[in-house]
Symmetry: D2
Subunit: 195 residues, 4 copies
């Protein structure tokens, strides 16, 4: 069994929905034990959840893109992880990241690049989406990887759309596929085979 933690902050529920989709992808892979960890509005998680991060074989980071990068609550967790960094406790864990924002492009890549930088300081090993984009003239909004995301999973929710309708179905399906990929990579890395 491999342990996979999805840790995220969600301000209005869209990133939570995305986190759940990633989780469903992780869960669809045999021999995985997923944990979903929500960062609270003050940028904290419980001691028990810090322990789950420490024990995880893979950590998937999630945050909305606010003002061009991760939410401050996510950054507070990142800053708090500095003791783990000092001891390199998370070394060689698998890492990946996802984000949601209102614009098609926006600065979502800035958010993913930050998560990557964080993971590299922890000496983790980074895996991206592994999904080719849907970008021909026939492409539809609900196609897999319509946004064209490589380094991490990107989703888009219109600025006035509540989380019961956004991100759209296609982004959530892409998120599920992304969760599957991270889980499979984590298993191969840890030499865990499907039964």
């Amino acid at each position: 069994m491999v342990k996979i933690a999805v840790i995220f902050y969600s301000g209005y529920g869209h990133t939570e929905k995305l986190a759940n989709a990633v989780m469903s992808g992780v869960e669809s892979v045999h021999e995985t034990t997923p944990h979903l960890i929500a960062i609270d509005d003050e940028g904290n998680i419980s001691e028990e959840n810090w322990q789950r991060l420490d024990e995880a074989d893979a950590i998937i980071f999630g945050s909305p893109t606010y003002m061009g990068s991760v939410a401050w609550q996510f950054k507070k967790i990142a800053d708090t992880s500095s003791k783990r960094w000092f001891n390199q406790d998370w070394k060689d864990k698998i890492a990946a990241g996802f984000t949601n924002s209102a614009s098609m492009n926006g600065d979502k890549l800035s958010t993913i690049n930050y998560m990557f930088t964080l993971a590299m300081q922890h000496s983790m090993i980074w895996v991206g989406t592994g999904i080719m984009p849907a970008n021909s003239t026939k492409a539809q909004r609900n196609d897999l990887n319509y946004l064209g995301a490589f380094s991490g999973l990107l989703a888009q929710s219109p600025s006035d759309a509540p989380p019961d309708i956004a991100p759209p179905k296609g982004d959530l399906e892409t998120a599920k596929l992304f969760g599957e990929r991270v889980a499979e990579v984590c298993k191969q890395w840890n030499h865990v085979h499907n039964s």
Copy 2:
């Protein structure tokens, strides 16, 4: 009068179309002398065009996003500019950038961030789009700044769409507005007033 150079590489014509739209925005502003400079397929421009860059008050950089950054032909021009860098010949010129790629998001921000880094080595002063994004549920593909671009101008052309139909009208109108903004900023910086 302020002199504004738009230097770009275009592989298939989409970025050229975008460059023309940026030019039309520059031209719509009084007291500007625009120059359009196309980088050839070997990554070269004429000596006369190097001189135009040297004399420009603003340089707007354009390139498709290929494999996650500027085309190599654009990078060759950037590398060749190292003598100007050594002498800081372009110091205090206004700088800005634009790019086109097939996906809505893709790694377009990586391309703009590179152009910014290049401009900063030259001690130029960077201006972005200054246009708010169209990202509500009512947003249409041809709205201004539908992609949600801040640091530089982003456009999207489907992978199989020829340049006579892509980038779409809205992206070209956004590019025109962006050209206007760079020209106006260049004029204010150089204390040139509309007649």
Copy 3:
């Protein structure tokens, strides 16, 4: 007169020292009114200081590099600035940034790139250091721009050096020069001439 605000977070005093050096550069330029604003440990500033940011002609951002980007307290200020972003209240202000961390390189550029992204969302105009690096075999630690910083001002303080001895003199002098440059650019942009 131009109003120039330096807003920073400092965890242990090194970035504060750097902020003071930047301030001294700003102050050395005639016709400037500088304001120094310290972000508190909870990521807040007073209403009066928000007003000073709103009234400023230039805002210089400062933060240590913690875990690969700005401190969460700085990011909280950035997130709180979203109302200003929505109204584009800071449009066309001059922007610049500085950071300090323990390593020579580290991920300092990631911090500056984030500050740039933030400024671009606010439609501000970005200015870098404009100082050539000292990087020949004869270069000494206290030379101007020994680290080789372009997009923003970088300083380095050894992990165990208290702020009374770090960052070193050369980095502080570079910071002063950087403050001067931002002030001069702000004056030219606002058509304010030395008396």
Copy 4:
């Protein structure tokens, strides 16, 4: 056995020296077959070398940082890899990167971030240095990871130092350790054990 390709461009010999150091690290690990591939001054490699990249289990990218990113010759190889990208031929290979430039900091991180973006488009899996930085007051220039590099391997050669004396010994030893790490990660990923 795992096959590990180191592909690099070197303008003046410093990056080549770094590539050799990375190679020596790879070679020190049992059960590896290393290949060193030099990109020529026109940005080309032989068909045989393209085949070696296709067959490799890990690809380590190397380039000097010129004008804020990889040399154009390296970018030309990246652009030429677009057919492999289209077929996702390099999917799930291990990837890593290294760079050299004259300044301590400079824009080296921009170069590594580009190599990462390239690797992500190819759906490769990224590994960084995994080495803690030497950044206390006692740190010496020839300590391991004196520059403080995480996402990729960074080296520094003074602008006027020929490759027989630069990068310095400590950077080369760090590069060797980095090569070892990539090889070990590649072996674990491919379930190859030391004999």
